[in-house]
């Protein structure tokens, strides 16, 4: 009995549910491989691995921390959420919370305030929980102002997971569209109240995680609201 080549695939048509379906039928393998053909097949696979051994150019390893300088991530790579900045100003025009509502797991909390100078609702804090974010891009698609973006900055490791909850905006105040109309730099600065990455209701100041003591200081006023267990995820 001649040995069947496993690549002898037959093309036919078969019936399924009254339809004729073109199929590729795999052959039945012959009962036993002879000693010689078995040995030959083994030697062939050994030749393949040897082929890779003697060609260092085929090495696929990329040495990560060393290749930082040349490492390029695609533009669209989603690693962190950021507010789009135009010359130091964000674009969040109304603090409308559409992003917050579109988020499937409550990773975004937008705190708005009534602007003292502008007299309009403006962004106070844009708090992002990187620890629970799944980078699904829903917030970006939901934003009517194009104020949000995903950046390919992937080195986000921290030693304390409370540090993964932070404020994205650098200042509280009106968006770029308003600020850029203001010619006077002094007046413009007045409208921008600086916001730190951590502070206020944000965790570094005491976000509660089970079995993790706060980093220091008293919990912020909104800490309970951010906590999924104690506050049931419902902001006050």
């Amino acid at each position: 009995m001649g040995r069947v080549n496993f690549r002898d695939i037959r093309r036919e048509e078969r019936l399924l549910g009254g339809k004729r379906i073109p199929v590729a039928v795999l052959p039945r393998l012959s009962r036993n491989a002879g000693v010689w053909s078995a040995a030959r097949s083994l030697l062939r696979s050994m030749r393949l691995t040897l082929h890779y051994l003697v060609r260092p150019s085929t090495v696929a390893t990329r040495q990560y921390p060393e290749n930082r300088a040349t490492l390029k991530f695609p533009e669209r790579y989603r690693a962190v959420l950021r507010l789009v900045e135009e010359e130091g100003c964000h674009r969040c025009a109304a603090a409308c919370r559409l992003c917050e509502k579109s988020c499937p797991n409550g990773s975004i909390k937008v705190i708005s305030r009534m602007g003292a100078i502008s007299g309009k609702v403006e962004l106070d804090r844009y708090i992002w929980r990187q620890d629970s974010c799944t980078l699904c891009n829903a917030c970006i698609q939901a934003c009517p102002f194009g104020a949000l973006e995903m950046r390919p900055d992937f080195e986000n490791a921290v030693y304390d997971r409370r540090l993964l909850i932070y404020t994205l905006n650098r200042y509280a105040g009106p968006p770029a569209s308003v600020l850029h109309k203001e010619e006077n730099p002094e007046a413009r600065r007045k409208m921008m109240e600086p916001r730190d990455r951590y502070g206020g209701p944000v965790p570094a100041n005491g976000y509660f995680l089970p079995n993790v003591p706060p980093l220091g200081g008293a919990p912020g006023p909104d800490a309970a609201a951010m906590d999924p267990v104690a506050g049931k995820g419902e902001p006050a």
């Binding site: 549910g17 995820g233 419902e234």
Partner: protein, 154 residues
């Protein structure tokens, strides 16, 4: 067989069954008492020959106090498909097992038992599938509560 002919054959053979609307596939509704003979016929009748039970699951209609069981069938011989619906009361959720007809139902029924608490008569190995044997409650019921459940962020 096209949808109408299929329904005709079915309703002729099972007077208690009727067409179910508001679905995107051919569907019938049958009382739970008649389910087992109906299912047997669906499998064995040569005109029907549903040889693949794709899916079996349940819906908890809390307000109406019943579980609706769904069987999703396909026939590789005729190429037609059918959804079979049946209802069991929430306070006595007992349904016959179809695992003798389609062995794949064995597991699918165990999943429904685990997550909804529907009991299957004569099931060969009725055990929880995913959850621990000592788990309290059936999570996919609409009135299920436990301490670590999160509310939907508004």
């Amino acid at each position: 067989m096209d949808a109408e002919a299929l329904l005709e054959v079915l309703i002729a053979s099972e007077p208690a069954a009727r067409k179910r609307d508001k679905t995107n596939r051919t569907a019938i509704q049958a009382p739970v008492e008649n389910l087992l003979p109906l299912m047997k016929r669906l499998r064995q009748d040569e005109r029907l020959a549903f040889d693949l039970l794709l899916d079996h699951t349940a819906i908890d209609w809390l307000a109406e106090g019943r579980f609706e069981l769904v069987y999703n069938l396909y026939s590789t011989i005729h190429g037609h498909s059918l959804m079979v619906f049946t209802s069991v009361p929430r306070d006595n959720p007992l349904a016959p097992t179809v695992s003798e007809i389609w062995p794949t139902a064995h597991w699918q029924e165990r999943e429904v038992f685990d997550l909804f608490g529907v009991l299957y008569d004569d099931h060969p190995d009725l055990r929880r599938l995913f959850l621990d044997d000592d788990w309290k409650g059936n999570p996919l019921r609409k009135d299920y509560q436990d301490d670590s459940m999160l509310a939907r962020p508004q």
